[in-house]
Amino acid sequence: MRYIRPLSMEDAVGQLAGSSGTAAILAGGSDLLVRMKGGFIEPDLIVDIKAIDGLSEITETGDGFSIGAAVPCAVLGESAALKKAWPGVVEAAKLIGSKQVQGRCTITGNLCNASPAADSVPALVAAGARASIVGPAGRRTIPVQGVPTGPGKTSLAKGEIIEAILLDKRAPRSGDAYLRFIPRTEMDIAVVSAGVNLTLDEHGVVKSARVALGAVAATVLLVEEAAQVLIGSRLDEATLERLAKVCAGACRPIDDKRGTVEFRRKVAGVLAKRAATTAYARAGGK
């Protein structure tokens, strides 16, 4: 095994692309080291991306935010501007693990670990976040939901690295929220989760919406029909009931020790309603 700490993206991509055997990217390591310890992966090459310029920074530009791939989730929670613009994304990122894990884990790693129950991913999908990917063929940007393709699997090609997660600048009267169900009060894996992102018009009517559900299918679901239910409404009770029904119907969950299919469907609807209500209030809706 080799451990390298490249200083540039070009070097990192070149080393990954040129590697034979198993290569792993190391940012926070809170998934990678656990998998190594458990014997699930034995990398021949570990590429630590934390010394690459800019990857450990959150940058605010005219277009929005760029969250470097090596920024720990704890830092997201310390960014007042990010919390103000995307409170749902930040609250989702802050739910991952303990203080100790927060100091290391990253939303890019959460995305690339490709767990269906990843906490930050439904919030990012609802937010319309994009992943900026650098690889041997250059740079490309795709919606985050295009990254995980199934449990533990991503669409990234050999040599490709996500350098940052991009979030748009906020339109006025916008809000997002993320909620999950766990049987404990903290530090657990989502049984069901929901992220909702809304923008209202000047009368408090929803003019755009995105609804994402986690842990109810092999990948996070972006539920277009649920968004259509919300658009044009002021989130009255009838709308929320329809939202719950559509979300429950969109789920394709499994039965496991953490929850049954029936339970997950019901809770997906409940969480979507509650997340939508919070997002609506954050957007200034009454």
Binding site: Y3, G29, L33, V34, M36, K99, V101
Partner: protein, 158 residues
Amino acid sequence: MAGVAVSTTINGDSVEFLCQPDETLLDVLRDRLGLTGAKEGCGTGDCGACSVILDDRLVCSCLVLGAETEGRRVETIEGMAHGDTLHPLQQKFLEHAALQCGICTPGFLIAAKDLLAKNPDPTEEEIRFGLAGNLCRCTGYDKIVRAVQDAAIVMKGA
């Protein structure tokens, strides 16, 4: 596997060591540097017994590679007391009997130190959430929480 040469700072001292590329910081501390205060409970980031502070961030040293600490600052339990003078948290853990078997104690002390550095006046709930990454199977946590509350009062007065 070729060894990795690392220069880092531990508890204010410059330290150089050779480690394997897949060797955790916890193993480096314990097996190469003789700093056995950080404990291995789970080895997978769940129990917090191996907590250290890395560049002002609380981390599990079992989830950090030794090689990653090149050029960085590590604070361990061994650096908490000044000579024979215990840190207020250590003193209060003793006074409140906030330990039984003691395996989790170094991790709790480091985590509590980090908590109070960032939030000198935490509520009980903030303490419980802040220390949720540290598991204790003996005390039931109440004595630990009281010790941290008491230490916070002492440290604010200092």
